[in-house]
Symmetry: C2
Subunit: 348 residues, 2 copies
C-alpha cells in the first residue's frame, strides 16, 4: 500500500508542452490515485487545458509563472537568471518539502544545474549523473551517465558505478547487480586514462559491488552486465544510438514485409506479434531518466515525448518515491563509503 | 575493366585464423579473377588448408613465418618486437610495392601502429583513422574514427572530417557528402572542448566540404549525414552499439514471431522478406574497415568474422585499389590543404 504524496511538474518544459504535460498528468492521475500534483507554468495556457480533464484538475494545484527555461538556454545562465522559471519553482517545491519529487521535460543542462544547486548532492558524490534503464536480450539494464557530465575522470566513473549499483538494486530489484565499464575493448590496457584508472580502482577497492570489468558497445544490447557505467558524452551517444538503430531496424522490417504479396499476408497474420515487438521496444515505455546523486527525486523526461511518455516519466518518479529510493541510496552510499574508509584506515 | 594486381594477407590474424583466411581467400578468388595473393603465416598450417582449394592455391604465394601478433599484445610492443610477424611482413609487402593493399583480422592497435610506421601517413594528416560504411534508413553512411585514436583534439577531428569526406565521395560515390560531428546535442554550446572547437574550425574554414553541424546518436541510424565524425573512443562504442542493438531487435522479433501459432504461420509466409532483412543487416556484409590517412591501402577485418566476412574485407580492399582510392585521397587532401593555406595566407 502506498501513502498519499505529491509530485511537482514543470508544465512548460518539452517540445509539446504544456499540452502533453497536462494530458500525461491525466493519464498518470488515473494510474496513481494516491498522487497529487503541483503544476508550475503559464496559468493562461494551463487552466483551459485542465478544464478538459476533470480528474487531473481535481488533484492539481496550479502555480503561475510567466517565465520558462528555453531549450537553447545555457545551464549557467538558466541557473543565474531563471529563479522564477517553471522549472526552478518546480524543483524548489521538492527542496521545501511540498513535493516528494519533480518531473521536467525541459532543458537537461538547466534542470541538472538547478537541481544540483537547489537539492544539493548526496554525501560522497561529487557530481550527480543521469541514469535510466532500457531493454536488453537478458531483460533490463541500467546505464549512466547519460549526459550530465561530458568530461569525467576516474573518480566520477567510480561514483557512477556505486550509484548505478544502488539504482539497479532498488529499481530493477536485483540482489547483486553486475557492473561494467564501457570501453573500446575488454583488455586491461585498452581505452582512455579515465576508464583504465576507474577499472583499477574498482578492482582494488573493497566496495561490496560485483565489478565485471570492461564491456563493449555490443554488450549494451546483449545485457552482459546489469549496470553500464560510462561518461556522459559516450553514454548519451550510446543510448541515442540504440534508439536510432532500433528505429532503423523497424523501418527495414516494415519495408521487407511490404515487398511481396505473400509477405504482406504473413505480416497480417503476425501483426499481434509485431505489435508486441513494437510495444516492447517503445521508447516511451522507457521514458524518464533519474538524476542520481541528489538529495531529492528529480526525473527528466525526453523533450520530444508525447503524453504517454510523460505519464511514464511521472510513473518513474512515483515508483522511486514509493520505493523510498532516495533513503535507500543514501544508506547504501554511507555503507559503501564507510567500507571504503575502513579499508583506507586499515591500509594506513 | 580492372587490371591485374596483388593483395597481401595476414593469414594468422583473427579468432578463426588461419582457416577462415584461406576459405575467405577462396571466396574472394572466385569473385575477383584478376587478383593474386601473398599469404604470410605458418606454412605448416597454411599448406594443408590451401590443398583443399585449388583456385586459391593457384593464385597464392605463401611466405613462411613462425611469428604472429597476439590479441593481447600491446601496439608498442608489437611494433618493437614484431618485425617477423605475419602482420608486419604482410604490411611490408605494400610498402615495397609487391602488393597494392593489405588485409588483416588481427590486433587492431598493432595493425595501426605497424601500418603507420611502415606506410607513413599522408601529407597533412597527423593521425590515421579507421573508417567504415554501414546501413542507414537513407542508404549508407561513413563513420570515423572507429578506434584508432581514443583521445582526439579538435584538429584530429577536422582531419577526420576531411578524410571521411574523401572516403564517402570515392567509396559511396557521392558528389558532395554531408559531414556531421557526433555530439550530445545539436546546440553549439553542447559537448566537450574538442567537438566545439572542431565545429568552429569547420564552420569558419574555407574547406570545400558540406559541414552539417552536430549530429546525435540517433542520427547515425537515421542517416542524417553521409559522414559521421567522432573520436575513436565514442566511434568504436557507437558502432558496436548499433551491432548489439540490431542483434537484440532481431532476437526480440524471433521471440515475438514464435509466440503464437498464427504468428508462426505469418512468419513462415514472410520468411523470404525476413531473410532479406537479415541479409540487409548482416554485419559480415559491412566487414572491412579502412585505415584512412596512410600511404597505402590497409583494411582491418573484424577479428571474430568468418570466411564470408573475410572475403568481404578482401573485397573492400579490392574496390579501393580498383578505384585508385589512395591516389584520389592524396589529390583531394592536397587540394583541401592548399585551399586552407591560401585562406590562411589571405588572412595574414
Amino acid at each position: 500500500m502506498s501513502n498519499r504524496f505529491t509530485l511537482s511538474l514543470d508544465a512548460m518544459g518539452g517540445d509539446h508542452a504544456p499540452r502533453m504535460v497536462i494530458e500525461g498528468l491525466e493519464i498518470a492521475a488515473q494510474r496513481f490515485p494516491d498522487i497529487d500534483f503541483l503544476l508550475f507554468g503559464d496559468e493562461k495556457k494551463l487552466r483551459p487545458l485542465l478544464e478538459k480533464y476533470a480528474r487531473a484538475k481535481s488533484r492539481t494545484q496550479v502555480f503561475h509563472t510567466d517565465e520558462a527555461v528555453q531549450n537553447e538556454d545555457k545551464a549557467a545562465a538558466a541557473l543565474r537568471g531563471g529563479r522564477n522559471t517553471s522549472m526552478r519553482l518546480a524543483i524548489n517545491a521538492v527542496a521545501d518539502g511540498r513535493a516528494a519529487g519533480v518531473i521536467s521535460a525541459g532543458n537537461t543542462g538547466a534542470l541538472m544545474a538547478m537541481a544540483k544547486f537547489v537539492l544539493k548532492t548526496l554525501p560522497g558524490i561529487d557530481r550527480p549523473a543521469i541514469a535510466t534503464y532500457f531493454p536488453t536480450r537478458r531483460g533490463e539494464s541500467v546505464m549512466l551517465d547519460l549526459g550530465a557530465n561530458v568530461d569525467c575522470d576516474a573518480n566520477n566513473l567510480v561514483q557512477f558505478a556505486v550509484m548505478g549499483e544502488v539504482f539497479a538494486r532498488n529499481v530493477l530489484n536485483l540482489k547483486q547487480p553486475s557492473i561494467g565499464l564501457l570501453n573500446v575493448g575488454v583488455e586491461g590496457y585498452k581505452g582512455n586514462e579515465a576508464v583504465r584508472q576507474a577499472s583499477a580502482i574498482l578492482q582494488e577497492s573493497r566496495l561490496p559491488i560485483k565489478f565485471h570489468g570492461f564491456v563493449e558497445g555490443d554488450d549494451i544490447g546483449a545485457g552482459t552486465v546489469d549496470v553500464v557505467v560510462t561518461d556522459g558524452f559516450t553514454g548519451n551517444i550510446a543510448l541515442k544510438t540504440t534508439e536510432g538503430t532500433a528505429k532503423m531496424v523497424g523501418y527495414f522490417l516494415k519495408e521487407s514485409l511490404k515487398s511481396t504479396f505473400i509477405s504482406r499476408i504473413g505480416a497480417l497474420l503476425a501483426r499481434p506479434a509485431l505489435n508486441d515487438l513494437r510495444s516492447r521496444m517503445d521508447p516511451r515505455r522507457y521514458n524518464g531518466a533519474m538524476f542520481v546523486g541528489l538529495n531529492g527525486i528529480c526525473v527528466k523526461s525526453h523533450g520530444s515525448t508525447d503524453e504517454e511518455g510523460f505519464a511514464n516519466a511521472i510513473g518513474v518518479a512515483a515508483n522511486l518515491v514509493n520505493g523510498k529510493f532516495n533513503e535507500r541510496i543514501k544508506e547504501d552510499l554511507e555503507h559503501l563509503i564507510s567500507s571504503e574508509s575502513s579499508k583506507e584506515a586499515a591500509a594506513s
